[in-house]
């Protein structure tokens, strides 16, 4: 739904990490009226879609996959680990901090990323990845929280 608001499938999306960026093709199935009605709240929809695009992006770029989802007071956290690695404990998992914007500009996206990095740093002194997705401008920004 977030992509359909601005684009027709498929599109090229830019995944940027620092100075490096790569393009990937992104295709989706258009939402039917039932789905549109179920996801009427744009804020929730943007957040869920941002998680979806980010999880695909970090798997593609970092070979990290979601191995857990735990609750917090403010929603839920996704925990990442290298694809195929056995899960014994959550000692070395990477936390994912995500934000999405439907129509934000590049400046808004960068601003959100800075904010997310700050939040993640304040939350926990452990490995974390911050990512923001701009659906209109077809861009994903990814940053390591610990070494940025």
């Amino acid at each position: 739904m977030c992509l359909s608001r601005h684009h027709i499938t498929p599109v090229k999306i830019v995944i940027r990490q620092g100075e490096e960026s790569e393009e990937r093709e992104l295709a989706w199935i258009a939402a039917d009226p039932g789905l549109v009605a179920a996801w009427a709240n744009q804020i929730d929809t943007t957040e869920a879609a941002a998680y979806c695009v980010t999880l695909a992006s970090v798997e593609d770029q970092r070979q990290l996959v979601a191995i857990g989802r735990t609750e917090t007071g403010s929603g839920a956290d996704y925990l990442l680990a290298p694809a195929g690695s056995p899960i014994e404990y959550f000692e070395d998992v990477v936390r994912l901090e995500v934000s999405g914007t439907d129509s934000g500009t590049h400046a808004v996206l960068q601003n959100r990323l800075t904010e997310k990095i700050k939040q993640a740093r304040e939350a926990e002194d452990s490995p974390a990845i911050a990512a923001v997705v701009g659906f209109k401008i077809l861009t994903v920004l990814i940053a390591d929280v610990t070494d940025t």
């Binding site: 179920a38 709240n41 744009q42 804020i43 929730d44 957040e47 857990g68 989802r69 735990t70 609750e71 917090t72 007071g73 403010s74 929603g75 839920a76 956290d77 925990l79 899960i87 404990y89 959550f90 000692e91 934000s99 914007t101 439907d102 129509s103 934000g104 500009t105 400046a107 808004v108 601003n111 959100r112 904010e115 939040q119 939350a123 926990e124 002194d125 452990s126 209109k136």
Partner: protein, 369 residues
């Protein structure tokens, strides 16, 4: 079952609970949150306690799930005993403190028979002269007033009320969903605000979900603070409302001296809005095209700085006393709003005006240090 099996079972129930909640099926969601919480607590019981990060993550998760199932006593007990008995990372302690505050607020309101709309927001003021747990009274009073105004404006927007140019909100709106303020968990100076649930059923009509008030409020402040014009346009399609929200949001911007940062976040939402001194220029940039041009005759604009000593919105004038002691009367306050200008009385302001030989006409006003 291993700790991971219990955790996986908890994840499945929690995901299903969130789905029910999104569709407005709150009773079903609470039952599933409770089951997810029990499974997470079993995971916590089974896990090796020397794995302190895993223990910390599971503890926060279990308490959050009990909180979401509205089992406040169980959530409180688990949080307190975990903090006393387990070796937790500092992030977990901070999260548990925030959860405990939300739990105490919700349970005290439940005991008093008061229902709040979902979406309590926490406002945190820090930096400058603000220290942990203490802040200048006038600063906090002013911010509380502005946040209250923004909540009322959000309710009016969602109810489709035409933009209120003068006076307070109608009594029916003030009585139906009055904002309440709560003390909040330690860290900078914090307080929480939530709206009382209207006693009148269906106060918002069929088209508006009451849960939307807090999330729309947060969306508006976040878009305002970050200069996200499109985001603000989506949240507030009406141009006059949009300009009003931006002017109110500008009143929240730190001056950099008394305080340097104001953050608003919601307990039930992942988003947050942060105002820093830099937010002022972003807000002004977004606001500029929304405010009407100063004067058709092309008179030059200037900024008057001084103390706002008098305002008469019904008679369309305000008076500013400059540093030299000279009083300047500014007229044509068409775009000045009670809740924007009210908190500025007797404070230093910068008034943008268009000056002609006969009069000084109002364009915009901002609070100054």
């Amino acid at each position: 079952m291993t700790w991971l099996d219990w955790h996986r079972a908890s994840e499945l129930d929690a995901v299903a609970a969130h789905e029910h909640r999104r569709y407005g099926r709150f009773d079903e969601a609470e039952v599933l949150f409770a089951r997810a919480a029990l499974n997470e607590q079993n995971a916590l019981d089974e896990v090796d306690k020397t794995k302190t990060r895993t223990v910390s993550i599971l503890t926060v998760s279990a308490v959050a799930l009990w909180y979401k199932s509205r089992e406040y006593e169980i959530a409180e007990k688990l949080a307190v005993t975990s903090m006393a008995k387990l070796e937790l990372h500092s992030f977990a302690t901070k999260e548990l403190q925030a959860l405990l505050q939300a739990i105490w607020t919700e349970s005290s309101m439940r005991r008093a028979g008061i229902s709040l709309l979902p979406g309590q927001v926490t406002v945190s003021v820090s930096g400058g002269e603000v220290v942990v747990g203490a802040a200048p009274l006038d600063l906090i009073v002013e911010k509380v007033q502005t946040i209250q105004s923004m909540f009322y404006r959000t309710v009016e927007l969602l109810k489709g009320v035409e933009l209120r140019v003068r006076g307070a909100p109608k009594p029916e709106i003030q009585n139906a969903c009055r904002p309440w303020i709560f003390q909040a968990a330690p860290g900078s100076y914090q307080f929480s605000v939530a709206l009382r649930e209207p006693e009148q059923p269906n106060f918002f009509g069929d088209d508006v979900n009451p849960r939307e008030v807090a999330s729309r409020f947060l969306h508006v402040v976040r878009a305002s603070a970050s200069g996200d014009e499109q985001g603000l346009l989506e949240a507030v399609p009406d141009v006059k409302y949009r300009a009003t929200f931006l002017k109110l949001a500008r009143n929240l911007v730190p001056n950099g001296r008394v305080f340097t940062r104001l953050e608003i976040k919601s307990v039930g939402d992942d988003g947050s809005a942060t105002f820093t001194p830099e937010s002022r220029s972003l807000i002004n940039e977004t606001l500029r095209p929304l405010t009407s041009s100063p004067d058709p005759s092309g008179t030059a604009t200037e900024t008057i700085r001084g103390v706002l000593r008098a305002v008469h919105l019904d008679q369309n004038w305000l008076e500013v006393v400059e540093g030299s002691g000279q009083t300047i009367r500014v007229v044509s306050l068409a775009e000045a709003l009670d809740d924007v200008i009210g908190p500025m009385v007797n404070k230093a302001v910068a008034v943008r005006v268009a000056r002609s030989t006969r009069q000084v006409r109002f364009i915009d006003i901002e609070a100054e240090d």
